[in-house]
Amino acid sequence: MLRFLATRVALLLLGLLVAAVLIFAVLRVLPGDVAQVVGGTQASAAQVARIRSELGLDRPVVLQFLDWIGGVARLDLGRSLVTGSPVAAELGQKLEVTLPLAGLSLLFGLGLGLPLGVLSAVLHRRAGGFLIAAAAQLLAAVPVVFAGVLLILLLGSWLHLLPVQGFPLDGWRQPGRAFASLILPALTIGVVEGAVVLRFTRSATLEALGQDHVRAAAARGMTLNRALVVHGLPGVLLSVVSVIGLEIAALLVGAVVVEQLFQLPGVGRMLVADVGNRDLVKVQSELLVLTGLILVVGAVVDVVHRLVDPREREAA
């Protein structure tokens, strides 16, 4: 176990390093003259020179990279090129919206996908099971924006149940309102990602229904459904844990789109705005934080999966 933990942590650190190098290479090296990109085509030579010295672009690339990474390690993500304010503080504020949004989306996704996935497998070869599976196949093809638009139509405006757009200005100091304004966006991501969870759960449950120990329990006199619940579902749940790591990436990407659609002040909307302003210092730190989140959650899920799933331990 210790050896597994050590290799997994090493892989995580390597992953973070590769991510940082790639982001830096694309944003700082690929464009040629970064100062020109930041300044835009209208910038005068003097402006470009000023940006260049401000960013330390006249120094060797490796030093610039080490500077950035050293800062990130001390939680200093640099300063915005446009406003001059520190990136870390703003990012922390935006994460207060994006992380609850992602968490709530995951909750909705699992809440929809798990039970319906099991149900559609149990009702396999019956109309109900086919309908659920077909609906999941359809939902998995819906673009997140369209899902959001349809939910706004169904729940937001027709029933006047929930706030359709925006987030309270004073954030979580109004917990009720803040939470309410996350429900529709989270449901949007949850429905689309829930379809993916559903399809995975369905095939895992179908497999469990055919496994020898479940069939043996049924042969000893349990009903097949009870045998599935007692002997099959624990394994199914543990398999689903392993896809959560992959789902996190989809949830965060979904959040970028959904924050734009529902006008939520989260990291995704910040990223989109900063790309528009060509604020490359902010963009590179935001991308690193987002990919870092994905990599860290992936590693944590791997470790948890290994801890709780006896099959994983035996396989090693």
Partner: protein, 284 residues
């Protein structure tokens, strides 16, 4: 690679539906190059936000453009993005997988780790990163999907390439003096094709979804190119006022992605004898 798997594929409802939609899409894209019901870019200030009428079956948008014509013309952008993305993904995936399976021994382990790391990068984030530097364009969508999904293809097909490379006929070809690259192109790749084609179908689905998401964020096609994603974006601001208009581009994207997914799934079943067998065992 013969007519048997094609027959297997079309025998399945999902495969037949997927194939039919994809053929229809390509036809629409080709026809739209020479003819659309109306000029997709012609604005008409007197007929804004029309509901469905005989002249405008899908209605008109806020500038009076005919939505049917615009959606019709948008098929060519979708088809182009899907085909190019799949092509880039295939090249990236095959090169990485072939190097990882058959390349120099020193390279294999680092490549495997690199692929594991790159898989954590979502397509949309790669695209946002690229468009921060290169500016918004369809090329960014294609490159991002190609790299993002190519890595997936590399992971899935690496094992398959290694397996095929160890079969007798490939070893025989090597022994007879065929070079490594020719062996790969003449013997290994044709025999891993079923696995690859399934992945390409799925990567096309990802590309269409990514184009929609990116155009929505403003990183996709330029305004002169008809795009379902941008139409969806243009219309969603007014969704509560004119809900009927938003349905069309959203539906077009959904049906296309569904077709690619179903086509890929059916193809996997049709070309994988193990899957066909395990299913019949399960239902027994």
């Amino acid at each position: 690679m013969s007519a048997t798997w094609l027959r297997e594929l079309l025998r399945r409802p999902a495969g037949a539906f997927g194939a039919a939609v994809l053929v229809l899409l390509v036809l629409c894209a080709l026809v739209s190059l020479v003819w659309t019901p109306q000029d997709p870019f012609a604005t008409d200030p007197f007929h804004r936000w029309q509901g469905p009428t005989a002249a405008h079956p899908f209605g008109t948008d806020g500038t009076g453009r005919d939505i049917l014509s615009y959606v019709f013309a948008g098929t060519r952008t979708t088809v182009l993005v899907a085909v190019l993305s799949a092509a880039v993904a295939a090249v990236v995936g095959v090169v990485l997988a072939a190097l990882g399976a058959l390349g120099p021994r020193r390279l294999r382990e680092p490549l495997a780790v690199l692929i594991d790391v790159l898989i954590a990068f979502p397509v949309l984030l790669i695209a946002i990163m690229l468009s921060a530097v290169l500016g918004p364009s369809l090329g960014v969508v294609v490159i991002a999907t190609g790299i993002g999904f190519g890595v997936n293809i590399a992971r899935v097909s690496r094992g398959e390439i290694r397996r095929v490379a160890r079969t007798g006929y490939v070893l025989a070809a090597r022994a007879a003096g065929l070079g490594p690259v020719r062996t790969l192109t003449d013997h290994v790749l044709p025999n891993t094709a079923p696995v690859l084609i399934v992945q390409l179908s799925l990567s096309a689905a990802v590309a269409v979804l990514a184009e929609a998401g990116l155009s929505f964020l403003g990183y996709g096609a330029p305004p002169s190119t008809p795009s379902w994603g941008r139409l969806l974006n243009d219309l969603q601001d007014y969704v509560t006022l004119y809900p009927l208009t938003v349905i069309w581009p959203g539906l077009a994207i959904t049906v296309t992605v569904l077709a690619f997914n179903l086509f890929g799934d059916a193809l996997r079943e049709a070309t994988d004898p193990r899957l066909v067998r395990s299913r019949s065992e399960r239902t027994r």
